[in-house]
Amino acid sequence: MKVTLLGFMKKEFAQLLRDKRMRIILFIMPVIQLMLFGFALSNEVKNIRLAAVFPLSDRISHEVLSKAFGSGWFKPARTTSTRDPSEWIRADQADVVLVAPPEGITQALQRGNARIQLLIDAKNVVRAQQIEGYLTAILQTTALDFIPVAAAPQGGVVFETRVLYNPELITSYFMVPGVMSMILCVITVIMTSMAIAREREVGTFEMLIAAPISIREILLGKTVPYIALGMLDAPVIILFATAVFGVPLRGSLLLLLLLTFVFVCTTVAVGTLISTISKTQQQAMLGGFIFLLPAVLFSGLMFPIENMPIYMRVFGYCNPLYYYNSAVRNIMLKGGDPSAVLVNVLILAAFAAGLIWISAKRFRLTLG
């Protein structure tokens, strides 16, 4: 039994890695993707095109502009002359326009109240709010500088904010572990489901049934190589995450690999399950996507689950990717809080056990 199983796995590996282009896709592409998404994606707002309308004599406005441009978040908008400042935003020449009162902020403040209007392009909801936050902060600190000291407010409530685990808010610390889970998931789910569906489509499955090999061996032979593949890809990705992006690995590497192993078992089981309901590779691939897209969206990689309405959060809590993501971030950035990681590993293991059981059962059924 062992010999046939080994032979079967060997065949599977050979088939998988025979094509040089496939080897590139499986081992080089994850790294390229990691680099691409790790470097490109950022939550830090930059290159905000700022335009301002104010009288030339207004010192505060000048100061606000130079502070804004000096901060690195803003850059001057190239605007064509027009009477209506909101036209600049309509024509996509500016992201935000600051409209000072007609007599200027400085004079208005000396007389009492200064009314300032900010026009913001809100096509992107998050960006709009961040732009407002940055600009409001700059306006307030600048105005404070110009108000005589005696009039400055006394007392008050101050929040001393400290950002833990990633004080400089480096996006790649947050993004890279997430992208890692996504890449592993894409490779294992889709490759497994397509490999089995391929045998079905080409007709070699009938041959396998006729061969002196048990169903369990077929199942193991078809899945173990893909688990191995995922486990080969994982260290490569972890190495790049730490070496190139400098993502700290504060917890234990062994724990991270164990977690990844449980996760890969889960995703390979999902792939097997998908293959049992599909007759062709195309169906397997589409089925894979129907699992993958919601799984990635509900994983907390891009959108926090906590913001979603309750009835939608349920999907997040049924999602292996969510637990993996959360545990990877915990291990890498927080050093791995034992109870939190353990809970995630146990939930993932439960997922894996359940899915393996169901998919093995369905696998037998579809073969019979």
Binding site: I120, V163, P304
Partner: protein, 373 residues
């Protein structure tokens, strides 16, 4: 004679392809379920505005003022507070993923507020999830204003009055932002993935050689095979459009005469890319991985669909220009939200034209090369 296309031959291939699609309704259902799921997820679940974020609170002061501060935080709707017995326990909640933020109020908070001193409260934020940190910081500013107003009405009256007007999406509705972009993603899935797979399947099964040995010209095969998918893509686009307008109430402020040419250009670009991938790979598994990596993932992550291109490093701002999705999303958001016409969208249209040209050239070149023995 040489380049004469026969419509009858094209139609024959087209009919065969349509039969192929219709004969297998399960595949078609799966293909159509994908856009539906995406639209539902983005329409119903994705919310950028924070609410009920879990915050661990340790109130070491237990005075009227400290309770007032937690009340202000709790009633803002942004945070869901849990009480912790000590600062260490509050930290533990952050470490154990039970909270995203922690508020620690020290013993003298109320006394300091009463004696016109600056009263400090410590806020700890979980930086491992930095998609929310920026927004939390913004909300804290607002909460601070409310708290000052509550405790010190005479001091807090600032004479700087900032009024913000959000253009194009006055209520900051997350759906208005995501759903027009979804049009691009849905088309990307249907066009690139499906075409690259069907044509790769013909190569894999060897039926492509068979087709080529008949009097049909390569160009006729390509047109015949692509047109059904063009129709499929257009159908899905119409579906997303209707759902956006009727289901999610996204406004359409521009002209359909601008959006429709944009959709057509975008679909042809991705159909051609699918064709190119299938010609290069000739294997379904490989075709699928390549479409995923060059088509779908960049369309979602690098096109400005979620992550603004303006935030990327300079290299990527240029690099993303080779993605048709980047330009189409500009056209889609422009026509939906800001009512732009051809004048404002000249660059995206021009870029799509150029990309189409390049892709068609590459695809025909590789296709012809493949035919030589």
């Amino acid at each position: 004679m040489k380049w004469q296309m026969k419509w009858s031959r094209i139609i024959a291939v087209l009919r065969k392809e349509v039969f192929h699609i219709l004969r297998d309704p399960f595949t078609l259902a799966l293909a159509l379920a994908l856009p539906l799921i995406l639209v539902l997820v983005f329409g119903l679940a994705i919310e950028f505005n924070i609410r009920e974020l879990r915050m661990a609170v340790h109130d070491g002061d237990r005075t009227y003022q400290s309770r007032g501060l937690t009340e202000v935080l709790g009633s803002s709707g942004y945070f869901k507070l849990t009480n912790e017995v000590s600062p260490v326990a509050a930290m533990g909640a952050l470490e154990g993923e039970r909270a995203k933020a922690a508020l620690i109020i020290e013993k003298n908070f109320g006394k300091q507020l009463g004696s016109e001193q600056v009263a400090r409260a410590q806020v700890l934020l979980d930086g491992s999830d930095n998609s929310t940190v920026g927004l939390i910081l913004g909300y804290l500013n607002g909460v601070q204003k409310i708290a000052e107003h509550k405790f010190l009405p005479e001091v807090a009256s600032s004479n700087l009055e900032i009024r913000t007007k959000y253009l194009f999406n006055g209520e900051l509705n997350s759906r208005w932002f995501t759903v027009p972009g979804l049009l691009a993603i849905v088309i990307a899935i249907l066009s690139i993935l499906l075409t690259s797979l069907t044509i790769a399947r013909e190569w894999e099964n060897g039926s492509m050689e068979l087709l080529l040995s008949t009097p049909i010209r390569p160009l006729e095969i390509v047109i015949g095979k692509l047109v059904p998918y063009l129709v499929l893509g257009l159908g899905a686009a119409t579906f997303v459009y209707l759902l956006a307008r009727l289901g999610f109430g996204v406004p359409f402020r521009g002209s359909h005469f601008v959006l429709i040419p944009g959709v057509l250009l975008f679909i042809t670009a991705y159909l051609t890319q699918g064709l190119l991938i299938s010609v290069i790979t000739r294997r379904q598994q490989l075709a699928m991985q390549l479409s995923m990596m060059t088509g779908l993932l960049p369309s979602i992550l690098l096109s400005g669909f979620i992550f603004p291109i303006e935030n990327m490093p300079p290299f990527f701002q240029v690099f993303t220009s080779i993605l048709p999705a980047k330009w189409f999303i500009q056209i889609s958001r422009g026509t939906f939200l800001s009512g732009s016409g051809f004048a404002e969208l000249a660059t995206p249209f021009l870029a799509l034209f150029v990309l189409n040209g390049v892709l068609i050239m590459l695809a025909t070149k590789n296709f012809k090369k493949d035919l030589e023995p």
